[in-house]
């Protein structure tokens, strides 16, 4: 029934609005990149249509491309977000008094992550 779907649609919009409003400016890039990864969920649409069987080579090709696109969106999105956040997470001063802890630790972690 579409009315249930539309109810879900509207409520999900409010949930999204409430959650996202609390994110500070400073984290907007990772937020955007993270939500960007989430809309890669369209990949499920490709899985459903292809999984339930389609005829014709063109249809199959289009769906494989769609699934590949969706996967790029999901996998790339989450990995990129993780890399961005990795730069924020090692803030030495983030844990209170430890401001004098060397930045070198963060640098090491990051180099490891980029391989």
């Amino acid at each position: 029934m579409p009315i249930e779907s539309i109810a879900i649609l509207v409520l999900a919009g409010f949930v999204g609005y409430t959650v996202i409003s609390k994110v500070p400016n400073t984290l907007h890039t990772p937020l955007m990149s993270g939500t960007n990864a989430i809309h890669g969920i369209v990949l499920l649409g490709g899985l459903i249509v292809l999984g339930h069987g389609v005829d014709g080579v063109l249809n199959k090709i289009l769906l494989v491309v769609a699934i590949a696109f969706g996967t790029i969106n999901v996998v790339g999105g989450f990995l990129v977000t993780d890399r961005m956040l990795g730069m924020f997470k090692q803030r030495p001063s983030g844990q209170g008094p430890g401001r004098e802890r060397p930045g070198g630790r963060a640098a090491e972690v990051r180099e490891g992550g980029e391989q």
Binding site: V15, H39, I41, A66, G94
Partner: protein, 463 residues
């Protein structure tokens, strides 16, 4: 849909929302991201458990190709290139929606026997997905500098052409809903929408990019939600709508930070004739510019109590963030307080500048948002403006004729002195003169941002 799959989807929603709630702070955000990713994995597995699924080889092929392309792309991209990578990932998401909608049309022979709402939702998904795919493609090309970053417009033809394209897309969609079966109709929707995406993003200048990227992100989310309606899939509806909401919020915030309406940004062509008119009227153009040297700047900084760094995209382009951090370390060793005033639209996507500074190990706590910075400026001894221009332009406050009038700016002029690092006297993306540069308290240090900061670092070491 089986109970098992529904249960999986519900777990996925909880993980998505809980993960996004983690995004509100730097310490919980990393975990939040992985929680959301786990939600995605649950949603995918649950979908594969749907009864009657087949074509496993092709599914594996699609997933495999996506992973093989997506993983290295995400791992290798430089932090400065992040906005175009996000644009690209966003675009392929929109492309996936458009392709699925197209196949839906083909499989059902033009929605033969489908409910009305399925046809409408699917066509909406096709339209918006295609706009997002091609628009993101152009945004990527502009950010990657394959296409010029400055606005490219057709002048007066632009708006009528966009409207004609929209009408074509809508007419094709309406005929389809009314029972049209020709595949040319869905092709018409996809092609016209794609052209709209190209035509709308092409005229948008570099400074407006954060708004466009947010908007395209919202579009892809909404198209995914519409696809969910068409396929009766709650996972798509919920996740798509959350992204749609988040993209809309960010679009709005970015537009507010530039004091421009979203339609005005989409109409494009920033800084045309009006910019020329203000150049004379600002009254600052005839005042002399005071230039300084790295040695003098270093002395000025070394004897300050509080220093505020005002970074702009010029800093990122010059890859100067590490040099800036080194300078800040030297200053902090002298007991000088160093903070960073970050304008919401600094950089090429929302919050981009914060990521670039974080990359250079600038502590999260030193990154000040605009309001906080503006209340701090009166106590600041030296503001060091690096590669930022329009976001510091006092004309946005004082000159009603200025194209950026009303845009919230960083009140650099209320600090005791200002040093502006800049390549030349050229104007910013908006193409307007900046009275800050001729302010009596301002000294200009001309040159590449990285070399200039490096010069200051060398001088500081000898002090």
């Amino acid at each position: 849909m089986t109970t098992l799959v529904s249960a999986g989807y519900i777990v996925a929603f909880v993980l998505f929302i809980y993960g996004l709630m983690g995004m509100t702070g730097p310490r919980t955000a990393v975990r939040g991201n992985w929680i959301a990713a786990a939600g995605m994995a649950v949603a995918v597995v649950a979908t594969l458990l749907l009864p009657g699924m087949g074509n496993w080889l092709l599914i594996a092929l699609g997933l495999g190709i996506g992973a093989v392309i997506g993983v290295p792309a995400a791992r290798r991209v430089k932090m400065t290139a992040m906005p175009q990578m996000v644009a690209l990932f966003n675009g392929v998401g929109g492309g996936a929606v458009a392709l699925i909608a197209w196949v839906e049309f083909r499989v059902t022979a033009g929605y033969e026997g489908e409910a009305l709402y399925v046809a409408i939702a699917s066509l909406f998904a096709a339209l918006v997905g295609s706009v997002s795919f091609w628009g993101s493609g152009v945004a990527f090309a502009k950010l990657q500098e394959i296409l010029p970053g400055k606005p490219v417009t057709l002048g007066r033809l632009q708006q009528p052409l966009n409207i004609v394209l929209l009408v074509v897309a809508l007419v094709c969609a309406v005929i389809t809903v009314a029972g049209g079966r020709s595949e040319w109709l869905i092709a018409g929707v996809l092609v016209a929408a794609g052209l709209i995406g190209v035509m709308v993003v092409l005229p948008i200048g570099g400074a407006d990019m954060p708004v466009v990227i947010s908007l395209l992100n919202a579009f892809t989310g909404l198209s995914a939600a519409a696809m969910g309606l068409a396929l009766d899939n709650t996972a798509l509806i919920v996740a798509g709508m959350i992204v749609g909401a988040s993209g809309s919020i960010l679009t709005n915030l970015m537009a507010q930070a530039m004091n421009r309406s979203i339609p005005a940004i989409l109409a494009g062509g920033f800084g045309g004739g009006a910019a020329g008119a203000t150049a004379g009227g600002s009254g600052g153009a005839d005042r002399p510019v005071r230039s300084t040297s790295a040695a003098d700047a270093a002395i000025q900084l070394a004897y300050a109590g509080r220093v505020m760094v005002v970074p702009g995209y010029g800093l990122a382009v010059a890859q100067a963030q590490h040099a800036v951090r080194e300078m800040a370390d030297l200053l902090e060793a002298k007991g000088i307080d160093v903070a960073y005033a970050v304008h919401p639209v600094a950089g090429r996507m929302p919050g981009h500048m914060n990521v670039l500074l974080a990359e250079a190990d600038v502590p999260y706590e030193s990154l000040k948002e605009m309001d906080e910075s503006n209340s701090a400026f009166p106590q600041v001894d030296v503001s060091l403006v690096i590669g930022a221009n329009d976001v510091t332009n006092p004309a946005a406050q004082s000159d009603p004729d200025s194209p950026i009038y009303g845009m919230p700016i960083l009140h650099v002029t209320s600090s005791r002195s200002v040093i502006v690092l800049k390549r030349s006297m050229g104007s910013g993306f908006a193409g307007i003169d900046n009275a800050l540069f001729t302010d009596p308290r301002t000294a200009m240090l001309f040159g590449d941002a990285k070399e200039s900061v490096g010069g200051i670092v060398e001088e500081l070491k000898t002090l």
